[in-house]
Symmetry: D2
Subunit: 243 residues, 4 copies
């Protein structure tokens, strides 16, 4: 089966530990339909134990592990091994989320390991400067957000403007092929529209969706808003990011 295409705009649904098992698969199927209908790239990152079930149940999602360790096959109890993650059906891995910070050297080695087995990488950064710093390591996506805004509902499009525009500019100077995302404070469709207007290549949500009364309705609204905003901001055809 062909791997799902990664192209702007990208929406990330961060499951964290909010949903797992049959509930994770139910949400994945709903996200998969949206990805197919709208033709947008959706990064969906379940708990490690649910990667295989989510990958089997979906066709269009980019299934990402929530973490990857910079280890080779062999020793390494309790680590997430690139080869095992790939064989389970994942398309990529997230690295360095503020809830799972990584040593800088480990980020670089984990990106190398991901590349060796054909996994994409999304790397978190706390500041525009850090976003440019991790961009030097060659990931596919950099998701920049101030850690103090994660999982909050403070409306932040305004205060985020300087942060986001600087992240987009600094990462673009390093490599314009890297997709820059920001999802800090994004909880509703309105937040998505405001965030996209700042020039990012994607956005996403975790608690905004997972703690909504109807998560599937919420994700549908948010991803539709991203799709609409992108089409208005970029009237031409969407460009496929080189693998």
């Amino acid at each position: 089966m062909a791997a799902p295409v990664l192209r702007r705009p990208v929406f990330e649904i961060g499951l964290k530990g909010y949903a797992y098992g049959v509930e994770a698969v139910r949400l994945a199927r709903a996200a998969d339909r949206i990805a197919g209908d709208l033709g947008v790239s959706i990064v969906f990152d379940p708990q490690a134990v649910d990667i295989a079930a989510v990958a089997r149940a979906t066709e269009h999602l980019l299934v990402f592990a929530q973490h990857l360790d910079p280890v080779a096959p062999g020793r390494g109890v309790g680590t997430m091994l690139a080869e095992a993650v790939r064989e389970a059906g994942a398309d990529g891995a997230m690295l360095n989320h503020s809830e799972r910070p990584m040593a800088f050297g480990d980020i670089g080695r984990a990106i190398e390991r991901a590349r060796e087995v054909g996994l994409r990488t999304l790397v978190y950064a706390d500041s525009p400067e850090q976003a440019a710093g991790v961009a030097m390591l060659g990931p596919d996506i950099v998701l920049a957000e101030p850690p103090e805004l994660i999982a909050t509902s403070r409306s932040t499009a305004a205060e985020m403007r300087g942060f986001v525009e600087r992240a987009v500019e600094l990462v673009g100077r390093v490599d314009p092929g890297i997709i820059v995302m920001c999802s800090a404070g994004v909880q509703t469709a309105e937040d998505v529209t405001a965030m996209m207007a700042l020039g990012v290549g994607g956005t996403g949500s975790s608690s905004g969706i997972l703690r909504a009364a109807d998560p599937i309705a919420r994700m549908t609204e948010m991803i539709t808003a991203m799709h609409t905003a992108w089409a208005e901001l970029h009237p031409g055809p969407a460009a496929v990011t080189p693998a």
Copy 2:
């Protein structure tokens, strides 16, 4: 389906990052047949992404996660959540392996989280004193071994005698219901026999099996040796450990 029974003697097959995916399932099926044939408890700990497939493919194995984080549902990117691990079909979790050391407070909280969702726990310790220390936290199994001997092939039954006998004694004083295991330096059936003679409630192997020319033949020999040694050392019927 009834959970597999945990009773002495116990054999642990530590997959680490040596085997994953279809190979992990193939080894699990073979171990499952041995567990069924001999009626011994086998702890089998695959990569996180393979827990669900291994649990589905087997009936008698105690499928253990290689790690568990002391977190509750919700936030916690890249963590192993007890509820998710349980729903994926695991019977327990390993904690504090020397390749994945945990803060002492986290070990205690992870044991509590495991207990809340019905997972067993096997906790590693580096010394007899540490074995007694973790026994205070109420795990099901303590696996004591000097870290410098893990994944080596030095024959160690002789030099291990003092270490193992002291671990068995100190843990027994804390709670005689806790199973004490040691697998340091255990690579062959002969090593298993020698180790069981030291009074442990179980043993196991990782590289001894996974790097053998024929891993299934090797695990069969080793587990058979454990079963035989146990029957000779304990002529009566095996006692079921209270859950």
Copy 3:
């Protein structure tokens, strides 16, 4: 110079990062006078860079490093080496504070390293069971406190009763020579008196003293309250703890 004697009751003044440099030395001199006047053991733990100055400026204080790494001389950039800490004039080291958690194996090895160079050890624990667990490793002092109560001002003598009594009992069963302390929620002289009544061998304070309008007045009141409470609870002569 003879090392200060460690005997019950013990008061710990936790400087953390509240005071350093000349201010740390000023507080140390004041604490030193109290230790000399009342004949009580005071553990005083400054920032690493201030250990030498505090040790030179005082006579009766037990100067403790806030952390010690389980390393031997040689490699180990950025670690706290036992030999260096000892030569700088420290009498001991604190281990496993909830703001600096340590892997369980590292706690054991750090206690060994401390013992080899003649440093005392005070080990933190989050629960009565963990207190007994670290007691197995042979420290001089176990300081048990629920991490959620550190640096708070919630009056907790009442809710702490069960916690403290169980910690004293469990550690006493492992080794009655180990001093059990608790300082959670202790901010005033009244808190000290209430805590001592629960049977501990010592108590202490960090933010209660360091954020008081007059830290020296506050520490004098608290240590005097401990001295008075101890004399009332233990009418006979204070026993010297064997080194």
Copy 4:
């Protein structure tokens, strides 16, 4: 007293845990004389407990802490607080050595904390790309070296050529004011000469000096070799790096 000037070429003497106490001060005095005689910048990084004594005993050395934590005054047991390190007399701090790896976010925050109190920073990186990544965070010095070569005696000037030249180029593109150093495999005066020829702004040694039969003779030879090589490679006057 005026702070020692930081200008190319820079030599780093990494004490790690090899020398401490009076021996650290003895080596520092010797290094101080060399720094004064030759007018070169020497970064000298003792154990935390020895910073104050080394700073008092020397005039020309840039005394660096081996680590700094990204914390503010207040809580933070066992951390290295910027204000305390500065008041003890340090001129700077090392960050992210492979023996003390830091999360990427923490490196950025530690550099900010250092800047706030007037400390310089030297950040380690494992690869040319990581060197450029940390350069984005604005340190004074980046020390790039492959971790597998640290503390070895393999002659590496040849195999290091590509690594070093790429690090110098990539960091220079980010900010030409940042000093790029490399000391991997540098054990003798000959190694120093060969390394300087690769275009670095400085080099250094730890085990090469500390495990030499006569450490002071060895450091004198190495620093003299650096001074000579620099003068030949850069016939004009040395430029002072802006603070």
